[in-house]
């Protein structure tokens, strides 16, 4: 088994077997449950169109996935460095690229688990309409580069900052700014500044693609511009993580 696979498996174990990882997954499940319950039982929200509910849930899944990816990415470098686990790993006979790839694989596994966890919730809120399958598909396709990008961004922050706390605070601020399209009303997004920010914001790209596919029933193939922004985001964050990891010592 290659060093990359071994380390990715170890990272997956960290998420699925350690109390810390299980606590994060439980928190994510509780948050999804709360949102799903709100969407189906709240008097006003339950009146929303089925497509709108699936769209909202897909955005929430991407937001929570990005938060989980960010935390897992930061913990994979800054957390391990603080716990003294990183140096023994760096001194093992595996190349830095293999170690980095393994850790990136850990972020991907975290998102895969989170996505699998979200499917029953998407089904619960969208099973009565026509848009559930499209919602699941576009959430997987566009959500993956966004979430992985935040995971890689977290790893980069973990490399470049001195502590995991600083990295986490910086990452959460960046995530809140990126996720503002979910938090702000459409009026602000249509302003000049909002439109400029939307054009380069990967989170906006995902949310706009969800809107186009789930609500406007467009095809996924027609979302080229959004997919391009998401792809650029993952490449940029990968470069950020890679350059940071080359310098990380302890």
């Amino acid at each position: 088994m290659s060093a990359t696979t071994l380390i990715a498996r170890k990272e997956a174990g960290e998420l699925l077997l350690s109390p810390r990882g299980l606590a994060w997954l439980t928190a994510v499940a509780v948050a999804l449950s709360a949102f799903a319950l709100l969407l189906v039982s709240n008097t006003e929200l339950s009146l929303l169109d089925n497509a709108q509910v699936v769209y909202d849930m897909a955005g929430i899944v991407t937001g929570l996935g990005s938060l989980l990816g960010l935390v897992v990415g930061i913990d994979a470098v800054a957390g391990e460095r603080e716990r003294g686990c990183l140096v023994p790993l760096l001194l093992a006979p595996a190349s830095r690229s293999a170690i980095l790839l393994g850790k990136l694989g850990g972020v991907a596994i975290a998102w895969a688990v989170m996505y699998a966890l979200s499917l029953p919730y998407l089904w619960a809120v969208g099973s009565t309409g026509q848009n559930m399958a499209d919602g699941m598909l576009v959430c997987g396709l566009l959500g993956t580069p966004i979430v992985l990008g935040f995971g890689f961004f977290g790893m980069g922050l973990g490399c470049w900052t001195r502590s995991s706390r600083t990295a986490l605070l910086t990452g959460i601020v960046a995530l809140l700014v990126a996720a503002s399209p979910l938090l702000l009303g459409p009026g602000l997004r249509q302003s000049a500044v909002g439109a400029m920010f939307d054009a380069v914001n990967p989170f906006s790209a995902a949310v706009d693609a969800y809107d186009a596919v789930i609500i406007d029933s467009q095809t996924i193939a027609a979302q080229g511009a959004h997919i391009l922004v998401a792809a650029a985001w993952i490449v940029l964050t990968l470069v950020f993580a890679r350059s940071g990891f080359a310098k990380v010592t302890r």
């Binding site: 174990g13 391990e80 686990c85 990183l86 140096v87 023994p88 093992a92 006979p93 595996a94 010592t249």
Partner: protein, 303 residues
């Protein structure tokens, strides 16, 4: 030489940590790296492992420049770092299996069990690392360092947190490894460990090597022979011990003060005296030796 450091200089964040460090470690040797807190021992180790880039000087590890970052080089290295962290959710057995796989060694469960038994952790092999005491973690760290059968071992405070029996067991393991040809760099504050294990030492003060060489030679040069006060349970025999081992400084009826030759190991001397009929009832250190040498050389250092 397995490890050779010459005129090593290194700065971190614009502050010079190492000014002029030198050391050389041969195969089959245990080398003690000593110095006060903050003297630069761990930074020296980090430079040797390629984790810190030197500003100047040379660091050669197993014939290659440190920092070459070659997995093949690291395969021949075993390291117990100063901050020794573990994946607490793993068991000792799965942790060692993980590292063995990283070293390209697919060890079966009995082999892993044997490795854990070597460091006294056999009964704990299925136990979660999160429940381990500091001493048990230290033992597991040593087992990890030994997993690749290294030619060169770099150990930072390996006996930290161990009880006296544990320390003795680790001493025996290290002595055995050195006898089998491994070179061991031992960074520690415990002069007793150094006295028992090391043939040569380097003392770093404020980022500079202030003394380096065989312990006996350094002590002989400093004129600080190890002094002991012996309480005798009966009259001392007339036959004098070999002058090459011990010289009597003062004596009364039931006690005697002796200086040991720097090259002589205390255990050997006590056996020799007992063989010659000395009724030794109690032995107390009375200064001198490595401790005095260390205290003199590190006097006035910042830490």
């Amino acid at each position: 030489m397995l490890l050779e450091i010459e005129r090593l200089r290194l700065s971190i964040g614009g502050t010079q940590i190492l000014g002029d460090v030198r050391l050389g470690l041969e195969a089959g040797e245990i080398y003690g790296l000593l110095g006060p807190n903050g003297a630069g021992k761990s930074t020296t180790i980090a430079a040797a492992l390629g984790l810190r880039r030197p500003d100047g000087g040379t660091v050669t590890v197993l014939g290659q420049t440190a920092g070459a970052n070659e997995p093949a080089l690291r395969r021949r290295l075993g390291v117990l770092p100063e901050r020794n962290g573990f994946y607490d959710w793993m068991t000792a057995e799965s942790y060692l299996a993980f590292y063995a796989s990283l070293y390209g060694r697919s060890l079966a469960r009995p082999q892993i069990a044997a490795r854990l038994a070597q460091v006294g952790l056999a009964p704990r092999r299925g136990q979660s690392i999160g429940t381990f005491s500091q001493g048990m973690r230290q033992r597991l760290g040593l087992a990890r360092a030994l997993i690749g059968n290294p030619d060169l071992l770099i150990l930072d405070e390996p006996t930290n947190g161990l009880d006296p029996r544990g320390r003795r067991e680790i001493h025996d393991i290290l002595t055995g490894l050195a006898q089998n040809g491994a070179g061991i760099l031992l960074c520690t504050h415990l002069l007793d460990d150094v006295d028992r294990l090391c043939q040569r030492i380097g003392i770093i003060v404020d980022g500079r090597t202030v003394a380096e060489g065989p312990i006996a030679e350094l002590i002989r040069k400093s004129g600080r022979r190890a002094r002991f006060r012996l309480r005798l349970a009966g009259p001392r025999p007339n036959e004098r011990p070999a002058e090459s081992l011990v010289s009597i400084v003062a004596r009364q009826d039931d006690w005697c003060v002796v200086d040991l030759d720097p090259a002589a190991r205390p255990d050997t001397v006590w056996r020799e005296l007992a063989f010659r009929g000395w009724p030794i009832a109690e032995i107390r250190r009375d200064g001198g030796g490595l401790e005095d040498l260390y205290l003199t050389l590190t006097e006035g250092s910042a830490a």
